[in-house]
Subunit: 253 residues, 2 copies
């Protein structure tokens, strides 16, 4: 794959609750797989606390370094929800009350008999010029500023928001994969796998040991944009395993 066709993204997970271990992040694998399917490679993830300077610095670094930046967390109504103001500061834009966001929230509140208050109105704040990201679960929208997509942290809401972004994202060639799982230890495979990696420098060859109920397993995962290339390398991996006396099966990743 030509370097120029690799489209990259970073994910910035915002929230003390992830760093304390209280909340287990479930958004990383969902976003990774969703982007992968669009030909966008998740290339870095950072988790930062609810501290403005840390958020702003990470937003500015990651939006420069990668084609897209996605953030999760910190867009609710409480005092610890500071993502919108941090993204505004990162872009040196004013934080404004977004008329469309306010209108959507007011409609929802009227329907549900929820009182409007100052805290709830914070959820209508976006950087000036932001484009909203629909929230079909609980209305309060996310937003996009240039290549930065700001989403909720609650997985159900994040997933709904992410689902609406497909048409705004332009990916490269999707990265395809093959997984060969075998019963040989990594130490026996390593030399042969290293030689295959040298032979196919553009194929991402990973080796992942795990403990399954049936015993120790190694998954050899191959990634490339060309299905024929993957088939060839997978064939070589199967031959390698067979030559070493191992048993293998090819799995979908």
């Amino acid at each position: 794959m030509a370097k120029s066709k690799t489209v990259t993204a970073a994910l910035l997970i915002i929230g003390n609750e992830i760093l304390s271990g209280r909340t287990k992040d479930a958004n990383l694998p969902f976003i990774a797989e969703g982007l992968g399917g669009m030909g966008i490679r998740l290339s870095e993830v950072r988790v930062v606390p609810d501290v403005a300077d840390e958020i702003i610095a990470a937003v500015n670094l990651l939006r420069e370094k990668y084609d897209y930046l996605f953030t999760t967390g910190g867009i609710g109504p409480t005092h610890d929800d500071i993502t919108a103001e941090c993204v505004a500061r990162a872009f040196d834009r004013k934080l404004i009350q977004n008329a469309e966001a306010r209108s959507r929230l007011e409609e929802r509140w009227a329907e549900a008999g929820i009182e409007m208050n100052e805290a709830r109105l914070r959820m209508a704040n976006t950087p000036e010029g932001a484009k909203l990201i629909d929230n079909p679960v609980s209305v309060a929208p996310g937003f996009q500023v240039e290549n930065v997509f700001v989403m909720a942290g609650v997985p159900k809401i994040m997933q709904a928001m992410f689902g609406s972004l497909r048409e705004r994202l332009v990916g490269g060639a999707p990265l395809l994969s093959r997984s060969v799982v075998c019963n040989l230890p990594e130490g026996r495979l390593a030399s042969g796998l290293g030689a295959l990696q040298a032979q196919y420098p553009n194929v991402d060859i990973g080796s992942y040991p795990s403990y399954a109920q049936s015993g120790f397993r190694v998954a050899v995962v191959l990634r490339h944009t060309d299905s024929d290339v993957l088939d060839a390398v997978a064939g070589d991996v199967l031959t390698l395993i067979g030559d070493l006396g191992g048993e293998a099966e090819t799995q979908s990743v």
Copy 2:
């Protein structure tokens, strides 16, 4: 808590398989909670691919910025396991074959009838002057260089390694917590919680909405080093919820 007594740490998760979404990281919450119990605050997490320049840059930045840096992943025998050489380069130290690590591995291999080979011997490589981290699961050790602790990515092995580090880590006052879970929406709590945060600027007050089987819930999580302070703030939160007509219970976090 005096600022000078806050002991901080970062976690660097190394591996393409996390960024592809194939492997769901389970080490972050384990390490976060383990450190928290020792009075060490996990303050940042990064996930980077198996790319030397990215690993080296992250190691050098994070070991400078925080009191401790923990890494997971990339210390096996295969070509994609490059953590040891990257940490050596980050510290500008030679990568050597560690005699004690080799001796442990040879003993294990002899017992188990495993052949020694070049790839397996890579697991004995450490930066010069590194201190080993025991691996009671599969022998191949992790290692420590100054304030950087290099551990395996497989959770079972990482947990065993982490368990042996307690005596090498010096924490500050442990961060204690209280959790008050209630049936009010965040938008009703927000104003009162913001006022409490202003009243107790040194208490970390977080508000976390979730969908439970029983319906929508908000957990208000309080963190501080002083149990009496936490009891006082938790009392104020309970009063706030009661005044707003909600029901609450205090939970262990």
